[in-house]
Amino acid sequence: MSEEQIRSLEKQFDERILRDEKIEPKDWMPEKYRKTHIRQMSQHAHSEIVGMLPEGNWISRAPSLRRKVALLAKVQDEAGHGLYLYSACETLGVSRDELYDQLHTGKAKYSSIFNYPTVTWADMGAIGWLVDGAAIINQVPLCNTSYGPYARAMIRVCKEESFHQRQGFEIMLKLANGSPEQKEMAQDALNRWWWPSLMMLGPTDDKSVHTEQSMKWKLKRKTNDELRQQFIDQTVPQANILGLSIPDSDLKWNEERQSYDFGEIDWDEFWQVVKGHGPMNKERMKARVGAWERGEWVRDAAMAHAEKKEERKEKQAV
């Protein structure tokens, strides 16, 4: 194809997105669109899969059966979300194996928030309330994104996600209204998860390299800073209901902006964690790669079994 032809196709493509038309797997698309989508969707899928690890840590130690079934269901949902997203990603011609390989070799990223440890039961509450809360803010606009399979996966993910946040908030509420020790545990979890949750919404707009292109393709409908502000404005009143305090001395209602002003985020910490130096990066990858490798013989055996069954069926048919 000549460059001129490509330019004309790209123009038509941009116009389709502008008209709110969806792009489907077999449609022509610019190579950059394909690559960017593989990157973002796979990062998203990896985050769901790695995201199971910090919570898996507490399933066997949940304080009651009610909490245990809820946490199990939540972690199972995350596996499901990972699978929806991997499938959507595969429609762009990349194989599941390549995607896993990118995760396992560290070539692909996942959300930096999962590189923090879950040291108390209250962390299950804080993750559901804050981390899933921030994830919802990120994900809801993606239900309208331009790539059909991604948008459809996100609609399903968002439907399931609100239970996650509610179960987290309920855990926080129970602890916050419990004994002084329990309340302290809830406050401690909020102290540790607050700033990483703000970072989770991504670098500030002036540092975000993909924003402009992503906005055009509706991979992003709001900038990181807008999403962060929305998250803060919606979460502060919830902390008040819990009777817990947000660990930010600069947090203050701004009457003029009708929004909260907030303190400086420690971006050095964010970049350290992104680069692999967070408290749990190594541990998470070790657990993930280990599970994948230990499961290899099972996957191979299942495949061999299926082939044997198929052969037997063919022989009987003769």
């Binding site: 077999k26 499938s87 399931e160 069954k309 198929e310």
Partner: protein, 96 residues
């Protein structure tokens, strides 16, 4: 590394309730049809989304090429006479 054979991809169709058609829900990997059904139950119907599941190995699906959409679908565009509004009837004929 073992001589790797990847699990094939399956397309999953779910009937959400009797009276409705099966609809495409997504895809997943499984070694055979039976496992595809079991996995589909866990991946796509955790909240009573279905009463029936079809699984089809993706390689068996033949899809039309969007580049041929013109020749495939455009001929229908100028056949307005296939629509009821094409026909002029007096107002007295109320419902037809």
């Amino acid at each position: 590394m073992s001589n790797k054979k990847n699990w094939p991809l399956w397309e999953i169709f779910v009937r959400s309730k009797n009276g409705l058609e099966h609809r495409h829900f997504g895809s997943l990997h499984a070694t055979d049809a039976e496992m595809a059904l079991e996995n589909a139950r866990d991946v796509y119907t955790r909240r009573n989304e279905g009463v029936s599941i079809w699984v089809v190995e993706s390689k068996h699906i033949t899809a039309s090429n969007p580049e041929h959409n013109g020749e495939l679908f455009e001929p229908a565009q100028d056949k307005v006479y296939r629509h009821p509004t094409f026909y002029d009837l007096p107002d007295e004929v109320k419902h037809m």
